[in-house]
Subunit: 332 residues, 2 copies
């Protein structure tokens, strides 16, 4: 099994002389998967079973700055200094271990999320993407986006997609070293697409996506049928992109998201990120759709619902869900 350190050394340490700046800083957008990443073929390197497709939220994401300092890492999350044993701090420091010149090289990290952390709103995707970009800035690696995407993936799988706005395709790859598993931006533009965020709960989810995935993929579940479904959805959604068919994109995305949750519900023990409010929201949506509203849902590994719809439908969606936060992912 190839270690993350081996890959990092291959990508970075062969590079130019060591000349860090005082501070590196970067922003990376949250991405919402339309075709979900669910299931790993390699846990250490976050190599996925299938390709996935996402859309960047452009205006929502993570801003991170990083400095070198001597001693233990100091991690600020949303202006609050975290204790060393905080899970977020521990995970960040374990990831930063990959980039220390000397064992006692420390980092000071200041990170701010525009969305709640660990609530299934893809904060770890934008978080690790911003961290890698900030490290690249700090150390002046001047890596290309493919290399940065691989480094971000090692931090959190879906982070490899958070280096771009717009539509992004994460190629699963086939190699054991994962050097062919990274994201690339897609050319399609969907200027009339709107994404609505319905935050039903800000609470940290009881089971992390990382653990949830393992629980679903290993053991008896309906997961064996997932790969075939994703392959079909990828073909279908690409056709919908070409036609700028937002209703088609919404329909496929909702099908894919619910099927991902279905794989979890079919595991033992069952994993259910839905809250009763999640189901109530979906049922409101489905009733409205039967009455003619063109609006679709997607859900990540958490209770919150994201809606996909055309700009012209925004008014009706807002009437149905007054608390919605509507994002325009493409500059028109």
């Amino acid at each position: 099994m190839i270690s993350a350190q081996t890959i990092v050394n291959q990508l970075i340490h062969q590079n130019a002389p060591y000349s860090p700046k005082t501070e590196g800083t970067a922003f990376a957008p949250v991405n919402i998967a339309l075709i979900k990443y669910w299931g790993k073929r390699n846990n250490a390197l976050n190599l996925p079973v299938t390709d996935s497709l996402s859309i960047g939220l452009r205006t929502l994401g993570t801003t991170t700055s990083i400095r070198l300092h001597q001693g233990q890492d100091i991690i600020y999350l949303n202006n609050e200094r975290l204790p060393f044993d905080h899970p977020f701090a521990q995970r960040t420091s374990r990831y930063l271990d990959l980039f220390r010149r000397q064992p006692n090289d420390g980092f000071m990290v200041m990170t701010k999320n525009d969305v709640p952390t660990g609530a299934g709103l893809a904060s770890s995707a934008s978080g690790y993407a911003a961290l890698v970009l900030a490290l690249n800035d700090l150390f002046q690696w001047q890596l290309d986006k493919t290399q940065l995407s691989i480094l971000a993936r090692i931090g959190s799988g879906s982070a490899c997609r958070s280096l771009w706005d717009g539509l992004v395709h994460w190629h699963a790859g086939q190699q054991d070293d994962g050097l062919d598993s990274y994201a690339t931006p897609l050319v399609y533009q969907l200027p009339t697409l709107r994404i609505g965020l319905l935050t039903l709960s800000n609470k940290t989810k009881p089971v992390s996506s990382r653990i949830g995935m393992q629980q679903t993929v290993h053991g008896l579940s309906l997961y064996p049928a997932w790969k075939t479904m994703v392959d079909t959805h990828l073909t279908q959604i690409t056709q919908a992109f070409e036609k700028q068919d937002i209703n088609g994109i919404g329909k496929i995305s909702e099908h894919n998201a619910l099927a991902m949750h279905a794989t979890m519900l079919s595991a033992s023990p069952a994993l259910c990120y839905f809250l009763p409010e999640t189901l109530a929201t979906l049922q409101t949506l489905w009733s409205a759709r039967e009455a003619g509203l063109n609006c679709w849902a997607t859900l990540d590994a958490g209770p919150n619902v994201k809606l996909l719809f055309e700009a012209e439908t925004a008014h009706d969606v807002k009437k149905l869900f007054p608390d919605i936060n509507i994002i325009q992912p493409f500059v028109s």
Copy 2:
């Protein structure tokens, strides 16, 4: 494609002379599937994709009496005469068409359900079983239970299991005529098993199991992984029966039921029989189980939850769900 009428003629019309009684009457118990019937290989004959296993509720079911009369069928459901165009009356009459000597032979049917009709509480299973038994009594066919099970199956698939108390195994069979697709009782006794019924909604479900099944099995869904799962569950639960391991039986049953609902959630359009209250109930149960309560859920194609537990746990279950209706399926 072999018609239901062909099968019925084969089973009945070769029989002894026509000597109907004034009235036929019968009771059949509701059955709760531990390993679900979900998906047909033949719609006309209700031939299933997989075997299934159920338990009769003994004291809850359907009581039906039937008489011959001239003219259109008269159907009473729970003491109320149904209009001819009522879906229940229409479906019953279509089934009774299979048993008319002359086209204008009518029936008067009086049927009473101990559980709400069409709410995912298996009323159609006990309903068609009671109807077949009542017809057998009326016409004095003196058919054996295998033949009656086949006739009941033609009315409603899971009805073929409602001819017995206790544990019942429906063999999927392989023949096109379905004459090898019927139920048989199992010898295992589980005198300490209790089944708790939580009726969260009495409303008729928005999509019948019949339609729901078709929607899931045809088209893109996770259903292709269902058969393998059922095969494994059948092996596992048989071992649990042998050991009288009620906790093991509960665990496998819950896994199987949630996986069935997962196949529906993965269909397009998604089919979701859960209400927000269903999810709240499951989450209450799961929390209690984490705290040590040995109790498991099963759910049919409806929003209501049935619980499986040992007699000794009944007190704690009742504390958690005060409205529960606890059934003892085996005479101790």
